[in-house]
Symmetry: C2
Subunit: 210 residues, 2 copies
């Protein structure tokens, strides 16, 4: 694959390694990913991986950091202040739903990292404890909803985030075993609208019950 007459460009080479490595790690897990395979799919050589990243583990950590950075950027673009609380929480949930569906590689990396008990994230100063912008937005919505008398009292934003995340992550992360056992593809486009609405109903019904 390597083209001997390409111009020199450190940033581009680095970016290409991250991009190819992201796919390889997401596809095969940390242990299953092959440094030689990443190299074969690049337009440069394996030596460059070690030149820029030192070793396989550091490459994996930077793949994770890059993936999380992309997510956070999208979350920061969230704007639901102008909506009433019920509509705002529904939009927040649906944004998470859409986002996870369109970033399966990210979900896979998170699953892989959990198999490794988040040891790499915990060691990464960039990632460990990195605040989630969506959580602040969520807290604001819950406050407004409670003040307006439509949401129940004493709801922890992080609990609501957990409920939304679990639903959206499960659809993507456990798609294959779920399909193998129940013969239903959770990502079937024909059921997408229904699943999206179900999530909104679930959260809103819980928050407004009582």
């Amino acid at each position: 694959m390597a083209q001997p007459d390409r111009t020199r460009d450190a940033e581009r080479t680095r970016a290409e390694i991250i991009e190819v490595a992201t796919r390889e790690f997401a596809d095969n897990g940390y242990t299953g990913a092959r440094v030689d395979e990443i190299a074969a799919k690049m337009s440069t050589t394996k030596r460059m991986i070690y030149y820029y990243f030192g070793n396989k583990e550091q490459l994996y950590v930077e793949v994770l950091e890059h993936a999380y950075a992309g997510i956070r950027a999208i979350e920061r673009g969230l704007d639901v202040e102008h909506l009433d609380p019920v509509e705002a929480i529904r939009q927040l949930a649906e944004l998470t739903f859409d986002h996870h569906e369109s970033h399966p590689d990210f979900i896979r990396l998170v699953s892989i990292e959990n198999i490794h008990r988040a040891e790499h994230i915990s060691r990464s100063t960039v990632l460990s404890g990195l605040a989630n912008p969506a959580l602040d937005v969520l807290a604001r919505i819950l406050d407004r909803g409670r003040e307006a008398g439509v949401f129940r009292d004493g709801v922890d934003p992080l609990d609501v985030h957990m409920v939304i995340s679990s639903y959206c992550v499960f659809r993507i992360a456990n798609r294959h075993t779920f399909n193998a056992i129940f013969k239903r593809d959770m990502l079937d486009p024909a059921r997408r609208g229904h699943h999206r609405q179900l999530l909104g109903d679930l959260v809103v019904d819980y928050l407004t019950a009582g």
Copy 2:
């Protein structure tokens, strides 16, 4: 570890291999698991793994089959026919909650199998399409609830199962990244009762919402 003077017992040897292999695969993933490591933790030798299972992949498949068999056995013991629908659905959810919490290795194996796109489960004639007894129980509860006029119409049992599963699986499977980022241990015993009730409220509020 091998004791030369132990008596011969094919069943016991087989069972011990499955037991040790379950831990190794759950801890390290399929690719990360080491056949030599499994052997080192047994009271017999690596040769026996190949004697009984042929290769690493077949051993992994039988580990999965054994793990699913244990789950199904517990589910078959479910008896909520005598309870009113609201209480029955709450108990079903809480049973899933309790079960997943006390079988983290099973959840890890499922995560690992999803990283591999369920290729092993799909190939296993024992596992592929294996019906879930809990799903029939769930369908019955929903029917009774609808007949009694307390549950909403047109609810798909598999959707409800998905909601319950996602919540219970997420708590265990994504515990580590969640804790690394939000500094909250989802398995903290102090929050266990709260999380358990939250799940029941979530499902009941959705089903009874008007």
